[in-house]
Amino acid sequence: MTRHFVPFAAALLAGALAATPVLAEDDAAARDQRWTELRQDVFGDRAVEQSKDVVALDAPVRAEDAALVPMAIKTADPAWIKGLTLIIDENPGPVAARVTFGPAGDAGLLKLRTRVNTYTNVHAVAETTDGKLFDTVRFVKASGGCSAPAGSSEEEAMKGMGEMRLKVRDEITPGKSAQATLMIRHPNFNGMQMDQITRAYTPARYIKEIKVTYNDKDVFSLVSDISLSTDPVIEFGFKPEAKGQIKVAATDTEGGHWEKTFDVPTQSN
């Protein structure tokens, strides 16, 4: 009996495979379902409210380079924001960054550069000081960013690992927040990139934590995953005094640890 049934079932299956055009509504439903699952994984049963008034996300509709997709998270009332989470839904490691702000930090504008694996929703979730979660979403068209090689060779990409630069973008006025851009030299190998000659995967090695302080007060700490681009670039806000020092500490998944202190404003002759 079953012997007769198998070819019939196979034919049915083949028919089903061949004729299932997916409507845009179905696609939206599948993407919502993905977010529901991810939200549960990251925030558990906590309520997450959609609100562009609290948190906004600037991301290119169509990215020029999927391995370097800029994301800018803005919050309307920075003093009310304790942390930000950036989630790239379709990336296999979706949580690109979890940022917690300290007393010397300013959550007004945070910029990151990310890898995007395929066309995806991107969520920016803000957590307020009173424990509420607000979310905003953008659809980004980019593809292939996770497997894109970090450079011409593994050796080349590892050169100068851990070197840092910091650029303060604003005039320092005590009591007024300023923006700074931090650049860290690191290949951020995500384990999904293949060496073109050996056909072997370059072992994963990426920055998992960055801590920034100003005059020993926390600006922010960032926990990252495989979705930050090679040579991470992070723009953040901080609350300067007349004179001070920004200290950066970065740790990677292989136990690499780098620290650097920058004078703010920059000491010049």
Partner: protein
Amino acid sequence: MFRLMRAARLAAGALVIATAAAHAAGGPGSASEPDGLWTGPMQSYTPSTLKGAEVVDADGVAALAAKGDAVLIDVAPADRKPPTLPEGALWAPQHRSIPGSAWFPGAGPGDLSPAQEAALKARVLELAGGRLDRPMVTFCHPDCWGSWNMGKRLLGWGFRNVFWFPQGREGWQESDRPTAVVKQDSVWAAAAKAEAGPAAPQ
């Protein structure tokens, strides 16, 4: 623009390859057709043709799919979990493809074991309902030899209507058509699991 960036990046890699291996790479589609299956780097410039098969673009695939009897075979590799993922980090891969596709991760390499080759052939014939005149469409990503190899295999097994879609999932997305989340073909997954060795799906 994204294609340009990707091409530039591949070209940088290709320069290295050119000195290490015999095949020079002039750009996407510039490789010449090997006689048999390709066993070199899976992600590198492919030929622009596949003897015996028809090369199609996204519109062509959409037209074939709309007719209803084409079998779409995606051989894109599965996302590989980094072994050093920190504890507590979220790993939640899902595969998006052309709606209705059967996904065979790890079926692209030219050097599958005889057991895998047999399992692949049996499963694909089953999906085609045993009809060698069934339109068969193979794809993965741009500059991916896996789909070229799959097309070559289909021809070798006697399929007469083989279509190769070299732009793959990215080409499909760029034509602004929706993708769907697809699971690994269950029969192929079981066969690959039984094999579990160096040639298991990536």
